[in-house]
């Protein structure tokens, strides 16, 4: 039973990422838009990965995306995830361009496929941590 109380790895915000984790608490997935070259990036850092400009603006993503790839996990990667299996991890292509790692809300793996549309759903983990997860959009 000890397995159930082993802490999951929780994100610890740093100087680069505080705004990102704060945004999720109010339901926003913040992307960085470069005012100099137009590059849109996920994840948060001081400089644009394309032109090294510091002129970056946070904008909330639409939350719409598609599944680029996925894997349904049956064997937990350590005790902290044992109560969760099976679960699906996703590589999401966001409408704004960036790709991100996420996981599927729920266990309806039958609807999961390449390129299917998905929608953001923030999931509360603790009072301070909300994770950006996704569910498949029914056509």
């Amino acid at each position: 039973m000890n397995d159930l109380i082993i802490q999951k790895p929780l994100p610890i915000a740093d100087g680069d990422s505080q705004a990102f984790w704060d945004g999720l608490k109010i339901g926003q997935l913040l992307l960085q838009h470069c005012a100099d070259c137009g590059h849109v990036q996920y994840y948060q850092q001081r400089i644009c990965r394309q032109c090294q400009s510091e002129n970056l603006q946070h904008k909330a993503a639409s939350g719409r995306g598609t599944v680029h790839s996925y894997s349904v996990v049956y064997r937990a990667p350590g005790p902290a995830f044992k109560q969760d299996v099976p679960y699906a991890v996703l590589l999401i292509d966001l409408e704004e361009g960036p790709r991100m790692i996420s996981s599927l809300v729920g266990k309806d793996f039958d609807v999961l496929d390449f390129d299917v549309p998905v929608q953001l759903e923030t999931i509360k983990i603790t009072d301070d941590v909300y994770l950006p997860c996704f569910h498949v959009v029914n056509k």
Partner: protein
Amino acid sequence: MPRSLRGKVAIVGVGQSPSGRVPSRSPLDLTADATLKALADAGMDKSEIDGVLTGNAFASSFHRFSIALSEYLNIQPAYSNTLQVSGATAGAAVNTAAAAIHAGLADTVLVACGDSLLTGMTPDMAIRAMTESRDQQYEMPFGIPVANTFAMTAQRHMKEYGTTAEQFAQVAVTFREHASRTPGAQKTEPITIEDVLNSKMVTTPYHKLDCSLISDGAVALILTSAEKAKDYTNDPIYILGGGEYYSHEHIFLMPDLTQTGAVQSAKKAYEMAGISANDIDVAGIYDCFTGTVVMMLEDLGFCKKGEGGAFVESGEITYGGKIPTNTHGGMLSYAHPGIPAAWFHFAEVVRQLRGSCGERQVIGAEHGLVHTLGAGFSTQATTVLGTESTL
């Protein structure tokens, strides 16, 4: 002419500890054991080693494994480092040792690694190994350790090229056949494609038998300059080319899920060696998962992009095929003690080029390739090796 270390450095000693399940022996003990055997193989006294490169061991509390190993062996090297580029550490360490010797930083470098992932891990160490594998903010909270990153590349390969689960399974079946001829292999009982497909699903598309083993064990290689090599052995195996490539840290920033930085690392290694994939007689390819091998056969140039599955299915990676691969059985069947795993690929390819592999010998092998990689295809290191006849 681009600078090159072609033919400047040779591997003159190879040794390995017992591997598989080896309880009650620390990573340092195993690595020292392998080192003493490599020294004996080279007919060399440890006083001649003036460089030590290692990877880190998860089941050891030492942060500077190369320094701790030197003390354990009572060696005081003039050149040392503990490298960390995940599964590519083996190739990176051999390339780096060769470069250091060529540059005059050391004359004779011990390149060794050992760990006891199977029997030596405390629960704390296991959690550290798990959580250190991926980014704590943008990956790990979703329950995605390194296995899932490789799984998602394989899934996409199936989608884009029609690669099948049966083709992936054939990799495991072939390497198991190879392991059955290798003394000391951890798994030797024959398996079929059905066995692989019927084994428990770990993370789609990978079943248990698509995944590498967990083992204890260590390997040591001794490299020295070409000038000194002949003092130790009649069969020096020369470094003909080395190439590496590091394309991303996060899996979501991998430029293309189905084409990896092995394309670039291999190109550089082949160019330095002055050969192409067609010239390679035997290969050691990092086989953390079956699909990894399929993708590497393509990116290393042994077949065209998208044809890796059919290439494996038609017997091209075993004896009589285009490129006999992992003739010792690889991480899928011989041993996978973590970072040291790919050192076994080097040991095997060196022995193949020496012609000392007995019933698993690839007849007449002169050019060998070892490709190591890690961290969801983030890190790639290729090394081309050759016999004296290739110089």
